[in-house]
């Protein structure tokens, strides 16, 4: 099962990419530079009208989504949107919604972004700004220790 995809040309124990950017895009076959800010990869989805990525909508795979109690189902929702809204009765991460309803994460990110914009779903804040928050990290350590 060892499958190194191109490692053959590299010396096997030399940390092939150390100190440089991983692979050219062409070699990798994907369209987002690894060192770039995330913006989703161009993979058209029928369900999303060709739109992709949580980058623009700001919905990350771990972003928590919860249905707004006052939201009323609308006839304009696609079946997929309906499934997403139903899955968000409690705060649940985007990836978890995708896993539970069987849609690719990328699709859920886009549609959840639409539903947040429409006020149907509420989304959590990101923890990104908390990486330097000493009090927050200490709380996290305390919480994990207590598991």
């Amino acid at each position: 099962m060892s499958n190194y995809d191109g490692y053959q040309e590299e010396e096997s124990f030399g940390r092939p990419f150390l100190g440089r950017v991983i692979r050219s895009e062409a070699e990798q076959g994907f369209t987002t530079p690894v060192e770039d800010t995330p913006g989703g990869v161009n993979r058209p989805y029928l369900i999303t009208g060709g739109r992709t990525g949580g980058g623009k909508a700001g919905i990350g795979i771990e972003t928590l989504l919860i249905r707004d109690p006052g939201a009323v189902p609308s006839g304009s929702w696609s079946p997929e949107m309906m499934m997403i809204v139903r899955a968000c009765d409690r705060a649940v991460a985007c990836a978890e919604v995708a896993a539970r309803i069987g849609l690719p994460i990328g699709v859920v990110q886009v549609l959840a972004g639409d539903l947040v914009a429409a006020g149907v779903l509420q989304r959590s804040a990101s923890s990104k700004s908390l990486a330097d928050d000493v009090a927050f990290i200490e709380r996290l350590i305390h919480g994990v220790s207590a598991l």
Binding site: F13, I22, P104, G106, A125, S129, D133, A135, F136, V144
Partner: protein, 207 residues
């Protein structure tokens, strides 16, 4: 990205702004490493739910090099990403994402790493080079990480010092040993990572 500056040094607690109660804050850590190194086992050891799996379609470039191995007639290849959830308290939920460690899944990594607090790189001592891609990626994006050597029963084992030498990480990167099936040991690895994140946060807040 609509990040909320009011979360700064509030211990992560958000003032209830405008409408109702905001959802808790999700914290994401990545569990990475080569194929079969025990990522899902590690996630499952600590998760309060059975690890869930979600599929991301793979790029066409990777189709044809994937080890389907079953002679199946699949025309689109997908990659499964397993993850688990740990509720810390009423306002923090920790998600552990097992991230495919192979080069050809690079298209997923930005989404995975965006907003992640840190990462664990799992190492199989008998296939050390499988973790290089993950190591390099974490170093490139300056994500705090720890190296955890998963000791499989009956495989040749190396000392942590030998592993550290072989994977060539900075002296301040923790290299620890773990049995991925053991909840307490996985918890200890996560705590090692969190302490590393804390040390960095402290050094930054001192300027």
């Amino acid at each position: 990205m609509s990040l909320h500056s009011e979360t700064r040094s509030s211990g992560g607690l958000e003032p209830a702004g405008g409408g109702g109660k905001r959802p808790p804050i999700p914290v994401k850590i990545l569990i990475s490493g080569g194929f079969g190194v025990g990522k899902t086992t590690t996630v499952g050891a600590l998760s309060e739910i059975d690890p869930l799996s979600t599929e991301a379609p793979m790029t066409s470039a990777s189709i044809g090099v994937d080890d389907a191995g079953t002679g199946s007639q699949k025309t689109t290849t997908t990659v499964a990403m397993d993850f688990g959830r740990i509720t810390i308290d009423e306002s923090i939920i920790l998600y552990m994402f097992g991230t495919p460690g192979q080069d050809r899944f690079g298209f997923m990594w930005n989404d995975l790493a965006d907003g992640a607090l840190g990462g664990v790189v799992l190492v199989d001592p008998s296939r050390m080079e499988d973790c290089f891609v993950a190591l390099d990626y974490f170093e490139n994006i300056r994500l705090p990480y720890v190296v955890a050597v998963n000791h499989f029963a009956g495989r040749p084992s190396l000392t942590l010092e030998q592993v550290r030498h072989a994977v060539n990480v900075d002296p301040d990167v923790p290299v620890v040993s773990v049995d991925a099936r053991d909840r307490e040991q996985v918890k200890a690895v996560v705590l090692t990572l969190l302490r590393r994140i804390l040390a960095r946060a402290k050094s930054r807040s001192r300027g």
